[in-house]
Every structure is written in structure tokens, then in C-alpha cells.
């Protein structure tokens, strides 16, 4: 990989380590990014020829003609774009190593088979957070492509009430969770096998779950939820984030009403037909995580799937972010391309970048200017070789928590082992 000249003004900032809060277990650096096109994702959203100062893990200044701190490592941007580190969508990063190997998959509480209606036993208390493994090889693979965080999804494809997950930084630390728990619920065709073969039962069961959660007495015989499940649902009743994976316009309308009745902050994920109810979504303040590559009727809930879904939603005033077509973590890195496709189909470019940065950070309530490049924001930054949404652009430098991460993954090591055209010894001896 081509590297741009980096000038080290002074020796590395080892001493700074001890000034950091204990939670930030990484070694922050003092960095000065010179002459960048900065996607601040604030006001104004893009600043040309700007400098960024990174101190103690945070952005300390953004502006023109800034001075590099004495001990700063200088990164020459040469007017190329710097964005906040990107959101990778709702994924099983750190929860799945190989999708096809059940022993490496933790994101779903899988019922043994579609259960009969009286034995559904949804488990909203199922929380994937303790299963998160930052040592998964998929995390560096994703991180070096410019992705800084993801929302751990629970149960997509395997759950009606799939359980809970949290936003997590991809910095490789064991405990880098960024948000409160988020509850995942799947509505529509993809989960109807789990709810007695009818989506109508999904609304019935959700009402039942809410009713049980309000009953503080002892569990009734035949109750839908366990005591912990009742507590979990009750916790979300006050402004908890509930991600509804759903595509059909009629379902999205039902979800908006359901969420309003129960005090949930609904987020639509997928939303293939969300464009049909864009005005209602905008009015209700319900954001949508779109999969911009979906333009086929993958099932009968997605008959109206179209490429300008994101553009129509934005035009109507809906907050748009993105998520991929599946929870498998391996191609999370494709989300940038998907955002580019949304932009190629009418979404303004800055809104496309926002959908990967500031919009999801705001949707899920990440603190401290996360998803922006503004003073005080955590220094999660990416220097790109060109337009951050273009498929031929690569992430050149990735900074997480104020630290340049090594641009190494299992895939770069495999590449470097096989890149030499000839090898006079078995390649197993090559340790890149």
C-alpha cells in the first residue's frame, strides 16, 4: 500500500497515556492533520483546506491555518477528504466468525424449530453484548476500510423479538460500548414462521408483552415472557431505542403507531417500502436505516423496493442512515459502496456521508459529538484517497480514539504472503 509522508516532529506521546481516563485503554497520540477536506458533519458540513488537531484521544481543533502542537505527528492530507470513522451498520461483528459454523455464531437465540404459538417464549432479555469478541478477524478487516463502529444486532433472521445489542467501537478493546442497549424486533414475512405463520400475531404478541411488562405482580401461568423479559420490555418503555426490521409500508405504519403507544423510540431497519410512507415517518420523527442496494422484490414485503428509497425519504425530511442486507459481518465494509449507490440515485452526497457518520450517531444517542469532526468529539477519523463514497477510494489512515491504527488484518497478511510473484521457499515461512 502506498503511504503518504508522515513527519514526526517529536517522539511519540507515550507520556500522554497516563493522562487518559481508565476506560480508554489505548495509547493516544498527538496528531496534526494538515490541509484536508474535512467532513465535519456539523456546520458547515464540509470545510476545505482545513487542519485538525488531535489531543488526548479527542479532536481539539478544526480550522484553517492551525498550528501543529510541538509533539504532534503530522499527517499530510493534501486536500483529500477526512471523515469521521464510519458506521458499519447493524452487524454481527465480533459475534460471528464464520456464518456457516454454528460454534462461531452468537448473535441469535435460535429456536430449535418454528415453535407452536403457545410456546413462543420470546426472550427480549437476550443481550448479545457479553458475547462480543473484539479479537474476531472480521474487526480489523472492517476497521482498516474506515469503519469505526457498528451496532451489534441481535437475532436478525432468527428472532421476532430478537433481543438486545449495543453500539460498539471497533477499536479492538473488550469493553468499548458506545450506547445504551437497543432492542431488535423483526416484523413481517421474515419472522412470521416464528409467530404462528401470521404477522398479525406479531402485533398481538407485542401488545401482550407490553401488557405483561406493566404487570409488576408474580408471573402468571402461561405468560409469554420470563420475569427478566418483563423487566427488559419495561426498560424500553421510556424512550428506549427499538429497531424494527421491516420492509412493507403497511407494517411500517403499524410500527409507528405501536411505538407511539408504548413510548418506544422506533428506528426502521431495511424499510424497502419506507418511501411509500415517507411523510408519516418524517412527521413521527422515525429514522430509517436503508439498504440502498435493495431494488428487487426479494419477498412480498419488498415489492416496492427501489433505488431512490433513501433519496425520497431524505426529501420528505426523514433521517436516513444505512445498514447492509444481512447481519453477517464479513461484508460490512460494503456499506460505503451502498451509500454511494444511494447518492448515485438522488441522495445528496453530504447526506450520504452523514448516513454513515453523524446520522446513526444521533439516532442511537452516541455522546460527545461522536460521528462528527468537531472540537471535543472523540478522534475517530479516516483519511481517504478520494471521495469517501467511491468504490475505487481506499482508507489510507484510520484513527480511532486518537490513535492511528495499524493498517493490518488477516487479509493484508495473506495478501503480503502471496504477493511476491515467486518464492524460493514454501510461503508458510513468509511472516509478513
Amino acid at each position: 500500500m502506498r503511504r503518504w509522508p508522515v513527519r514526526t516532529l517529536l517522539a511519540s506521546a507515550v507520556g500522554v497515556l497516563w493522562l487518559l481516563p481508565a476506560a480508554s485503554a489505548v495509547r493516544a497520540q498527538t496528531l496534526f492533520i494538515h490541509d484536508a477536506t474535512v467532513y465535519t458533519m456539523s456546520t458547515p458540513p464540509v470545510v476545505q483546506e482545513a487542519d485538525i488537531v488531535v489531543l488526548d484521544g479527542r479532536v481539539s481543533a478544526v480550522g484553517h491555518g492551525l498550528e501543529a502542537p510541538d509533539n504532534a505527528t503530522v499527517i499530510e492530507a493534501n486536500r483529500r477528504p477526512v471523515t469521521p470513522a464510519l458506521f458499519a451498520g447493524i452487524t454481527a461483528l465480533g459475534l460471528t466468525e464464520l456464518s456457516g459454523e454454528a460454534t462461531t455464531v452468537d448473535q441469535t437465540l435460535q429456536p430449535p424449530a418454528p415453535p407452536p404459538l403457545d410456546r413462543l417464549a420470546p426472550r427480549p432479555e437476550f443481550d448479545v453484548t457479553p458475547a462480543y469478541n473484539p479479537d474476531s478477524t472480521a474487526i480489523p478487516v472492517t476497521r482498516i476500510e474506515g469503519y469505526g463502529w457498528t451496532l451489534l444486532g441481535a437475532g436478525r433472521g432468527g428472532g421476532f423479538i430478537g433481543g438486545q445489542g449495543r453500539a460498539v467501537s471497533l477499536d479492538g478493546a473488550y469493553d468499548s460500548f458506545l450506547s445504551e442497549p437497543v432492542l431488535f424486533i423483526g416484523i413481517g414475512a421474515s419472522t412470521s414462521a416464528l409467530t404462528g405463520q401470521s404477522r398479525a400475531a406479531q402485533y398481538m404478541l407485542l401488545e401482550q408483552a407490553v401488557a405483561e411488562s406493566r404487570d409488576t405482580g408474580a408471573s402468571q401461568p402461561g405468560a409469554l415472557l420470563t420475569p427478566l423479559g418483563r423487566q427488559a420490555i419495561a426498560r424500553f418503555a421510556e424512550s428506549g431505542h427499538v429497531v424494527f426490521s421491516s420492509d412493507r409500508a403497511s407494517d411500517i405504519l403499524q410500527i409507528i403507531r405501536l411505538a407511539e403507544r408504548n413510548g418506544w423510540r422506533a428506528v426502521i431497519s431495511g424499510g424497502a417500502e419506507a418511501w411509500k410512507v415517507a411523510d408519516t415517518l418524517a412527521e413521527a420523527g422515525v429514522p430509517v436505516l436503508v439498504d440502498p442496494l435493495r431494488n428487487l422484490p426479494g419477498d412480498f414485503d419488498q415489492i416496492g423496493a427501489r433505488l431512490d428509497n433513501a433519496a425520497i425519504l431524505h426529501e420528505a425530511g426523514v433521517t436516513v442512515s444505512f445498514t447492509g442486507g444481512e447481519e453477517a459481518p464479513h461484508n460490512a465494509r460494503k456499506l460505503r459502496q451502498a451509500a454511494g449507490v444511494a447518492v448515485a440515485n438522488g441522495l445528496p452526497h453530504e447526506v450520504g456521508v452523514a448516513g454513515l457518520t453523524s446520522a446513526p450517531a444521533a439516532i442511537f444517542g452516541l455522546p460527545d459529538g461522536h460521528g462528527t469532526v468537531t472540537p471535543g468529539a472523540p478522534a475517530n477519523l479516516v483519511l481517504w484517497t478520494g471521495d469517501p463514497l467511491e468504490v475505487t477510494t481506499l482508507a489510507e489512515t484510520v484513527i480511532l480514539n486518537g490513535r492511528r491504527i495499524p493498517m493490518v488484518s488477516r487479509q493484508t497478511l495473506l495478501r503480503d504472503r502471496y504477493l511476491p510473484a515467486d518464492s524460493d521457499r514454501p510461503r508458510a515461512y513468509i511472516r509478513p
Binding site: 500500500m1 502506498r2 466468525e97 464464520l98 456464518s99 456457516g100 459454523e101 478477524t137 472480521a138 478487516v141 418511501w275 411509500k276 442496494l293 435493495r294 431494488n295 428487487l296 422484490p297 426479494g298 419477498d299 412480498f300 419488498q302 415489492i303 416496492g304 427501489r306 431512490d308 442486507g325 453477517a328 459481518p329 464479513h330 461484508n331 465494509r333 460494503k334 459502496q337 454511494g340 449507490v341 447518492v343 448515485a344 463514497l389 467511491e390 468504490v391 475505487t392 477510494t393 481506499l394 487479509q411 493484508t412 495473506l414 495478501r415 502471496y418 504477493l419 510473484a421 510461503r427
Partner: protein, 456 residues
């Protein structure tokens, strides 16, 4: 005689009685009406490895007539299109699609791609499962795909015959069938067959069982071929009253491979398994046209090039199962690197087939970042000429050379971009898609009358 066109082996058995009859389920494809067209001022990627700037392309009588960076004299009645700022490429070719056999919507009734009832189903033909109303064909066309091979799935060691289609809207697959294109044979090594049958406590349940299964079938196929050859010889020697050997649809397909009339498309991920399959092919005297998926193909790029086997690959898929663990985004570029190589970008996806150009762009960018010089005129071959080569149709399409089918895409700019769009798509010179003209945007019967808004 259709089979004459398939001759690749110089043997006396090339056209046996078996195939002497007109090939069944013949193509009824007819090019749509076309007009002569002179495209000028375009950036042209010819598919032969050349790039011509400010160039002209003349399409007439359904064929490429001329491609030149100098002025071309066009017939007086030819339409003229000033393609200033736009790029022209051969029509894109996807060698690995399940459009029609796993049609959208992906309901149970549309699951027609895997006859997963026996590890060898060489007797089934993908074309008999194709639903031509799959909206995916239209979406792929809007992405510049003019030709595609529809394959059976990979549940079986030998899944059946694949078919090569012209991507035209039609009510029958016969009307899409690429005239004279050889059938493909889908084979699969690795995890899928051993998982599908192992779960049923059936052979194969291991990779050992996979290979034993392949070898047993080829032995049967050789015998079948020999039985027919002996019979043919005796008929030729004037013997009468002979009973012909019984026809067997499974062995007929496999014999077609041994005769070189059917091209092997082998789903295979791991480098070691691809090497094993090359040895299976050598043992029984057939060729592998392409390894499909091959996420470890970069480990044996030289061996693949030396064997003349194409690698039909994804830009970046990996990790969805153990045999896909070692996938790297430089795979295509590394497979492309040796002399005589044949790297192909394939989709295996109703989404990916719409954006083969973007997949290629990602692979190109990765190759460049790793120090390989891959200009657009080289990368376009992954989607056009190399794909045509693996399907046995390079003499008819896949490049912009005079005499070839006028399968052409005019892009709104450099196709290796997320913002690139196919403005116009031509098949045999006929304008079959025009982004600016609703009248040239076919809609499947399935989508007619659905609640789609104001769009195509």
C-alpha cells in the same frame, strides 16, 4: 447441425448418433429490430485490452462493423450518437447467475436451482427451471449485462447443465438462449455437497467422499461413451439389427463433457481442492473451463494460468463459511497477474449482477494499491472477454471487434465508479435498454400492476 459448432476435440466420435438429432430445446432467439448506429467521441474499452479515446464505433446489421479512433464512414441511414464524455464497452457477461432459477421474489415456489435429492444430478438442466419473468433480468440489463450463464446451485457434486442466455425480455427461456452457446456443467467441491448429504448420513459426507463421487461418475461416463462408440463403429461397419445402448440423461451430460462439448464450471473455494479437481480432470481427460468463487485462487494463480483455467471470482466476499475464510480483496488482481491468465468477475447474486462494474472497480483499486498496474482497458476484460472465453462464446461476443455481435454498453462516464450508470444497452445491435426512455425499459409481467410508485 448444431453440434458441428461445438467441435473442440479432434476425435472420430465428435458427433455421435447421440447428438446427431437436432439438439433439443433449441434456441428460438431472434435479435430485436435494430438500426445502424455510429457512436462518436467516446472513450472505448474494446475488451481486447485496448483503450481508444475520442473514438467511434459503428453498429450495423446486428454486428460491430468498425471501431476506430479515426473517423468512420457510416451508411447514410445510420443514426448518430455523440458520446462526448461517455464510455463504451462490450456488453457485460456474468458467468455465474441464478436469475430465473432463484427468482425474485424469493418465495418457496421460486426455489428451482438445486435438485438436492441426489449428489449427482447431471440430468437436470437449469433452463428447465428458469422463470423468464424474474424481475432480476431487467435489473441486470440496466446494469449493462447482455449475456449471462444461469447455473444450477451447488448442493450437489454434479448439479446439472447451465445455460447461456442473451439478456432480452422474453416469455420463454428458449427465446433468450444464446444461439450455439455450449452448455455448462455445474460441479461443486467442498463444504456444500458434503454438508447437504452428510446431514442425511449419505455419501458424500467428507471431501474424500466428494472426490470418490466425482471419480465414480466419470468412470461410468467413460464406459457410456465407449459403449456408444462401439455401437457406432459396428453400425458404421455395416452391421444391422443392433440394439443401441440405452440413453441415460445423466451420462449423456457427462459424456458431453468428455467429448468437450459441455464446459465444466466448477464451484470450488480452497486452493488445495482446486488442485485436486485439476487432477480429477486430468485423470479422466476433460478440461475445467472455470473455477467459480475460488476465494483462494490467488494462492495458485500461476497453476491456474498454466492450466488455462479461468477464475470466476468475487471482489470481496469472504468468511461466510470455513472454506471462504482466506478470501482477500486482491484475489482477482492476483489471479489476473500471470501471463495467460483468465480472471473473471462473477456475481452469484441478483444484486451483484447489477453492479459488476463496481465489483471490478473494487478489485482494480485493490490490485493497484498492492502495486499491480491495472488500467481500465485491462479490468474490463474481467467482465467481458474473459467471461466470454469461459463460456465458449468469445468468437461471437465479449469484445468490440468487427464481425462480433453488437452487444454494447454506453456508460454515462468511466464505468469503474459507484456513480456510473449504463445509459444505453445494445444486444445484437438492438437498443434494449435506455435509461432516458421509459419505452426502452422492460418491466416483467410480475411487476405489472404492483404498487411500485412512478418508477420503473
Amino acid at each position: 447441425m448444431a453440434c458441428v459448432r461445438f467441435i473442440v476435440l479432434l476425435t472420430a466420435l465428435v458427433c455421435s448418433t447421440l447428438l446427431r438429432a437436432e439438439a433439443p430445446y433449441p434456441s428460438t432467439y431472434q435479435p430485436l429490430p435494430s438500426q445502424s448506429l455510429l457512436i462518436t467521441n467516446a472513450t472505448v474499452l474494446t475488451g481486447t485490452g485496448d483503450r481508444l479515446d475520442q473514438a467511434s464505433v459503428l453498429l450495423a446489421d446486428g454486428r460491430i462493423q468498425a471501431v476506430s479512433s479515426r473517423a468512420i464512414r457510416a451508411p447514410g441511414d445510420a443514426n448518430r450518437l455523440d458520446a462526448e464524455g461517455r464510455w463504451v464497452t462490450p456488453g457485460l457477461i456474468d458467468v455465474h447467475s441464478h436469475l430465473g432459477v432463484y427468482a425474485s421474489p424469493g418465495i418457496a415456489a421460486h426455489s428451482d436451482g438445486n435438485e438436492a435429492t441426489s449428489p449427482t444430478t447431471a440430468h437436470v438442466w437449469a433452463e428447465h427451471g428458469i422463470w423468464p419473468q424474474d424481475p432480476g433480468f431487467n435489473r441486470a440489463r440496466a446494469g449493462g449485462v447482455t449475456t449471462l450463464q444461469v447455473l444450477p446451485g451447488s448442493a450437489n457434486l454434479i448439479g446439472g447443465r447451465g445455460v447461456t442466455l442473451k439478456n432480452v425480455p422474453a416469455v420463454s427461456y428458449q427465446a433468450m438462449k444464446f444461439p450455439g452457446a455450449p452448455h455448462g456443467l455445474k460441479m461443486a467441491c467442498g463444504e456444500n455437497p458434503k454438508r447437504v448429504y452428510g446431514q442425511r448420513n449419505q455419501e458424500p459426507s467428507t471431501r474424500m467422499g466428494n472426490v470418490a463421487g466425482f471419480r465414480a461418475r466419470w468412470i461410468e461416463a467413460q464406459k457410456y461413451l465407449d459403449d456408444w462408440a462401439r455401437y457406432e463403429q459396428r453400425v458404421a461397419d455395416g452391421e444391422t439389427g443392433l440394439d443401441a445402448p440405452a440413453r441415460d440423461l445423466r451420462l449423456e451430460t457427462l459424456a458431453g463433457v468428455l467429448r468437450g462439448e459441455i464446459l465444466v464450471h466448477n464451484h470450488c473455494y480452497r486452493a488445495d481442492e482446486m488442485m485436486t479437481m485439476l487432477d480429477v480432470a486430468a485423470e479422466f481427460g476433460y478440461s475445467i473451463s472455470a473455477f467459480h468463487h475460488g476465494v483462494e485462487a490467488y494462492k495458485i494463480a500461476d497453476e491456474l494460468a498454466a492450466a488455462g483455467v479461468c477464475g470466476a471470482l468475487w471482489a470481496d466476499w469472504w468468511g461466510f463459511k470455513a472454506e471462504a475464510y482466506d478470501g482477500i480483496p486482491e484475489n482477482i488482481a492476483l489471479v489476473d497477474r500471470p501471463e495467460g491468465s483468465c480472471a473473471i468477475v462473477h456475481s452469484d447474486s441478483s444484486e451483484g449482477i447489477q453492479r459488476l462494474n463496481q465489483e471490478a472497480a473494487k478489485a482494480m483499486a485493490r490490485g493497484r494499491a498492492a502495486g499491480m498496474n491495472i488500467p481500465p482497458e485491462q479490468a474490463i476484460r474481467w467482465l467481458t472477454a474473459n467471461a466470454a472465453r469461459s463460456l465458449g462464446i468469445l468468437d461471437r461476443t465479449g469484445t468490440l471487434e468487427p464481425g462480433k455481435m453488437a452487444d454494447v454498453v454506453i456508460w454515462n462516464g468511466n464505468p469503474f465508479s459507484v456513480y456510473a450508470k449504463a445509459d444505453q444497452v445494445f444486444i445484437d445491435g438492438a437498443l434494449i435498454f435506455d435509461r432516458a426512455d421509459l419505452e426502452r425499459q422492460p418491466l416483467s409481467d410480475f411487476e405489472l400492476g404492483q404498487s411500485l410508485g412512478d418508477r420503473p
